[in-house]
């Protein structure tokens, strides 16, 4: 509660497990609909499920090779303040919101995923916020973890910059949840990821979660350019693999800083001391600025070399929102389509973590998927 100024609980979910957490401290009612992005982070609203919550990641763009992950949008806004966060230019109701009807969310997922039993669905909860940033978000995550343990063709993907893993440690997860961390060097965490857990705390939480049997996901996204970035990422990768074994890392994503022109102005206004928007960046077809391609390729190659050096070369590593030519330059190969990448990920899980993916992925079925 220390980060929060108020908690509002909708009467419809007051009796739910999540609705009861704040008990007499909570105000009964509808979302306070806080318009100010920063202020919204300090007011929690726990409400009922409204409409569909399960869909394919909104970033999916057929001009890029996307990982076609699915998402549950049951969290909105985030208590942390990353300078590069797209939410500052996205939300209208900025109240930190959480849907308490976990059962109804799980039912919706079951209804949809049962229609394609051959497919491995990777389902994230981080589209509009951090999966486990603070209580009760992590308690909601724990409810989902338990629900997913019985779903044969689904993997829950929690993604965080926090260390709030306690509620996840002693529950039945059946290895069907991947707990992932967004990773950046200390310099970036201090300057650009305001209010998040430090690298040490993240790595400590990662080690605890790994000991509890969860597969681990690593997201070097957004990679950020700054003087000394090579050395800083080297140090970071070293520390990660001091904390967890590469054998427990199910996948690694790599991406670079990107934002649209409007967002650039927002960042400059909200965080005038940040220099992340001032680098050599060009506008892509998707109206997002990115570092110049040769610079990005250098960054990705460097990171890939580091992963190799630390015995993580066999972990499934993919690029987020990059074109085939960047894939080719970085890996020397590229997936033919979004469906192909989906297949490759399922195949990697099947080969390395057979207990998670019981059904051998059928390449043709994945290639036939339409986006």
């Amino acid at each position: 509660m220390k980060r929060l100024k108020s908690v509002t609980v909708h009467p419809a979910v007051r009796a739910s497990r999540l609705g009861k957490i704040f008990d007499d401290q909570a105000i009964p009612g509808d979302s306070p609909r806080i318009p100010d992005y920063r202020e919204g982070k300090r007011h929690l609203y726990i409400g009922p499920k409204k409409g569909k919550m399960f869909h394919v990641c909104a970033s999916l763009d057929t001009r890029y090779i996307c990982c076609s992950t699915h998402v549950i949008s049951h969290i909105s806004n985030c208590p942390f303040e990353c300078t590069y966060c797209f939410l500052q230019n996205y939300l209208t109701d900025t109240t930190l919101s959480l849907v308490a009807d976990t059962g109804a969310i799980l039912d919706e997922i079951r209804e949809k995923t049962v229609l394609q039993p051959w497919r491995l669905f990777r389902i994230g909860t981080w589209e509009l916020g951090d999966s486990i940033a603070i209580p009760p978000l992590n308690q909601a995550a724990a409810e989902l973890v338990e629900g997913f343990s019985g779903m044969p063709n689904c993997i829950l993907k929690l993604r965080t910059k926090s260390a709030e893993v306690e509620p996840l440690l002693d529950i039945d997860h059946g290895r069907k949840t991947v707990v992932s961390w967004t990773i950046n060097p200390r310099q970036v965490i201090t300057r650009e990821e305001i209010g998040t857990a430090g690298l040490d705390a993240r790595l400590d939480a990662m080690a605890r979660v790994s000991s509890a049997g969860y597969p681990i996901g690593l997201h070097f996204d957004p990679m950020i350019l700054f003087p000394g970035w090579e050395k800083a990422y080297r140090q970071t990768v070293q520390e990660i693999f001091d904390a967890v074994s590469p054998e427990e890392v199910i996948w690694i994503s790599i991406g670079s800083l990107r934002f649209n022109p409007e967002m650039k102005k927002k960042i400059e206004n909200n965080y005038p001391a940040s220099t992340i928007t001032a680098q050599e960046m060009v506008l892509g077809d998707d109206n997002k600025f990115r570092y110049l391609r040769p610079i990005r390729v250098d960054m990705y190659r460097h990171l890939l070399d580091l992963l190799d050096e630390h015995g993580a070369g066999h972990c499934f590593t993919y690029l987020c929102m990059e074109r085939w030519n960047v894939w080719h330059e970085v890996f020397g190969r590229y997936p033919m389509s979004i469906g192909h990448l989906d297949f490759l990920m399922a195949q990697s899980v099947y080969n390395r973590f057979p207990e998670i993916c019981a059904c051998k992925p059928d390449r043709q079925k994945y290639l036939a998927l339409e986006y």
């Binding site: 050599e280 060009v282 110049l292 391609r293 074109r323």
Partner: protein, 330 residues
């Protein structure tokens, strides 16, 4: 204002000059060089006394005469050594917003751009006209919707240095364009507009340059003054050439500083193009942002002979070499 009594009185012009004048929006326009100096003469010629000088007498310890409208005429009177002018005196108890409405009524023909509208809204705020009144009364009078978010945008614009507002006014920039400029720090705006006076700047070019310079300053940890004192910048800005040429050179320099890697690659690619692919019956283009690995080859033909020539040129070893070399950068 119905029912209030107005009266005519001879006012000593020197008395008006001795008093601080809170309603002097007109003098702000004068400071910006926006007064039509021939106006008083033409006005007297054309309308005589139809448009009276408006003043308000207020008593706070001592009597003060506040000029509401007629700043140009009073200046003209003083310049022509007329010591007293007949003025229409409005009552002291007339509400502030009504006095401001009179100021606006008089100045409205000149408040015809977003920049000057922004200045007028700031003028009202400085006079402590309640925000509610500005929103619901004055914004509609200026042709603006009574929205708080819009008022905030205009006030942000009004906070820019006067030289920048004048530039926006002269170029008749839209509110959005003004707002884009207002996004930059005052120090950068001031230095930029004072140092680029000799350049022919369009709205979009000014925006582009400011955005890029802002990024360079941040990246290099420089102040605007330091940047404009660098040898490269001075060399361009101090050259004695046409304003358009100078603007174009400056743009090129800023682009090179903002995109050092990209401009180097571009230079190499342009050289390859010039050496191996220029002057052909086809054009070769590529994505200048280097994002797409794609070359676009365009041609236009009138007959099969031309088609054969294009095919011949396309199949030349030199062409293949050029294509291969360009693709190696993409």
């Amino acid at each position: 204002m119905r029912g209030l009594s107005f009266f005519i009185e001879e006012i000593d012009t020197s008395e008006l000059f001795a008093t601080e004048q809170p309603y002097a929006f007109s003098l702000l326009l004068k400071r910006l060089g926006l007064w039509d100096e021939t106006w008083p003469f033409n006005s007297f010629q054309g309308t005589g006394l139809l448009s009276p000088v408006l003043v308000q007498k207020v008593f706070n310890k001592r009597e003060k005469i506040l000029l509401v409208d007629g700043f140009k005429r009073i200046e003209w009177a003083r310049a022509t050594q007329i010591s007293t002018v007949s003025c229409l005196v409005i009552p002291e108890d007339i509400p502030l917003a009504d006095v401001c409405a009179l100021v606006l009524a008089a100045q409205k023909p000149w408040i015809n751009t977003p920049a000057l509208k922004a200045l007028f809204l700031r003028f009202l705020l400085n006079l402590e006209v309640p925000r509610e009144t500005i929103l619901n009364r004055f914004m509609p009078l200026l042709g603006l919707g009574p929205a708080e978010s819009l008022l905030r945008k205009y006030l942000k614009i009004s906070a820019m240095p006067e030289t920048v507002l004048l530039f926006c006014h002269e170029k008749r920039f839209s509110m959005k364009r003004c707002l884009n400029l207002a996004h930059h720090k005052k120090g950068l705006l001031e230095t930029f507009f004072s140092r680029t006076r000799g350049l022919h700047l369009s709205a979009s070019l000014a925006e582009e340059l400011l955005d890029n310079i802002n990024d360079i300053l941040k990246r290099e940890g420089m102040s605007p003054e330091q940047f404009f004192e660098t040898i490269d910048v001075r060399r361009v800005l101090d050259q004695n050439t046409d304003a358009r040429v100078k603007a174009s050179s400056f743009r090129e320099l800023i682009r090179r500083l903002k995109f050092p890697v990209l401009t180097e690659i571009e230079k190499d690619m342009n050289q390859i193009h010039k050496r191996l692919l220029a002057g052909r019956r086809f054009n070769v283009n590529w994505d200048r942002a280097l994002e797409n690995r794609q070359l676009h080859i365009n041609t236009a033909i009138k007959d099969t002979d031309e088609f054969r020539s294009v095919l011949y040129e396309l199949q030349k070893e030199e062409t293949l070499k050029g294509i291969e070399a360009l693709l190696s950068y993409l």
